[in-house]
Symmetry: C2
Subunit: 304 residues, 2 copies
């Protein structure tokens, strides 16, 4: 299908750009560079980079200038997974079918490789010395004030009022009775913040008018909530081979999710409602939103 074909082309470019931006695996000191590459190229779906780029294409055709930000967001996402998997946090041994970073490289290198990915994300967004084709486009075409807004969006979403708050609340909620409002709060911060930032950064890089930014923020809300519910459903009934991880971990950890609170049937109904809501928020963009509609469908009905 044509849409999926273009989508895969974008992912290929993201992979190549990530490869260009990361220090070489043989570069000194090797261990940390190997650890960074190991986690970045562990088979992620690249949903967040796609969201940035497809959001940019809603407003103009110069989406290649969004590639550095798309890579930065993927690095931030990867760092958050590495740190979340640590023994002191979720203590996961496997992710995407491979040993987690601390199992493969030891805990110190895992912590430091996460730190390094987070820091590199910000370097990508401002450092003119990175001589890559896409950073050249970004350097020449994106006004400094827009770059600063992109950095502010990502730092805000990844920070203590966004993703990090979600992670600490999530850890604190384990084994406790959690109300649905608290669960929504956790998910909004832990998953929703970066998804909202992806869409807003894409809009900024696509030179969207202010109301375009606001419209994408509205779309982001059901998308972020749906994203998390699908993750929770997959933990219950996903395909372990495709996901590359063990099912049922939420139950083992006594972790409150929408599924554990409301049951799978109600969670699916909520998912379907959120899907319709998300799609309806895209309507105003008409034809230009075709790829984003397709990605929305994938996010809500994926099986891994």
């Amino acid at each position: 299908m044509n849409v999926r074909h273009h989508w895969n082309e974008i992912i290929d470019l993201v992979e190549k750009a990530l490869d260009a931006f990361l220090p070489g695996a043989g570069e000194y000191p090797r261990k940390i560079n190997e650890a960074m590459r190991y986690s970045v190229f562990a088979g992620g779906k690249r949903i967040r980079p796609l969201l940035i780029i497809l959001a940019a294409t809603l407003f103009n055709d110069k989406w290649q200038r969004a590639l550095p930000a798309a890579c930065a967001l993927e690095l931030i996402h990867t760092y958050s997974l590495i740190h979340d998997d640590l023994p002191a946090m979720d203590d996961d041994d496997f992710r995407r079918g491979k040993p987690t970073a601390h199992r493969a490289f030891g805990e110190a290198a895992a912590i430091l490789s996460g730190d390094a990915l987070l820091t590199l994300a910000f370097s990508l967004l401002c450092d003119d010395s990175l001589q890559d084709a896409y950073s050249e486009i970004y350097r020449q075409e994106v006004p400094p004030a827009v770059k600063l807004r992109v950095i502010a969006e990502l730092a805000g979403a990844a920070g203590v009022r966004g993703m990090i708050a979600g992670q600490i609340l999530d850890l604190e909620a384990e084994g406790r009775i959690v109300e649905i409002e608290m669960l929504n709060e956790i998910n909004t911060r832990k998953t929703g913040a970066l998804i909202t930032a992806a869409l807003r950064c894409g809009a900024l890089l696509g030179e969207a008018p202010e109301r375009g930014l606001q419209q994408l923020s509205k779309y982001a809300l059901p998308l972020g909530r749906g994203f998390q519910i699908v993750d929770d459903l997959l933990d219950l009934e996903g395909d372990e081979a495709k996901m590359g991880k063990q099912k049922g971990m939420d139950k083992i950890r006594d972790k409150a999710t929408i599924v554990s609170l409301c049951g799978a049937a109600a969670a699916k109904e909520l998912r379907d409602n959120l899907y319709r809501e998300a799609i309806s928020e895209l309507a105003v963009f008409g034809e230009r939103a075709i790829m984003l509609q397709e990605l929305t469908c994938f996010i809500f009905y994926r099986d891994y």
Copy 2:
């Protein structure tokens, strides 16, 4: 003394600005905000913020615009200490006379508070929504292109080719025979990179000409090396009460330092030579460098 008086005034402003930039301790989620404040206000000497601000004053009098960057650098320094102290790294129980972050708040909150401080540092440098008097000056007076250069300097120095490389090399060197060249390499990255970045950021924010930037980079080299040698000497013969930590840890960890490789007498001679070298690199700035000379003297001959 007048110089020290002005210096203390600057430190007071840095403390106040840090307090304004950090989320309130009572802000939700409390644990992470408390953990961030605990480490930031644990009695650091604020040498790096002073370096940024005193570097800026070499070139003009509008040094207050350097306060957000000074705070950002202190947050990055604090995050690096929290992560370095973790059980998987140096496994330290005390710092500056207080339990380390993971001893006080648990390992998960320590890791996350470090992540949060690193992320907040970048927010400070670009986010116009931070409504503080100094961020207002910064917002109005610093051109976006200069802000981007400041972010690039800090991200580069803190990243995988700077401080993080130094930390992984340091961990790998423990218990091994290390040549003096390797030790210089570790120290240049681990300590020197952020010190160089502090001086360069100060120069950028002071609107220094390119040769001013280069001159400060030359001054940074002996300063960074001397800084580390003094730390190593203090571990051998410092005042435990004043330092707030146990002496002799390098020996217990079988950690190679200039002191362990060359002996204390040779290390002191090297320190004295580096001090003279650093001071001579400041000569070109004449009278304006008086406070930076005083700070240099403190860095080389401090007893804590």
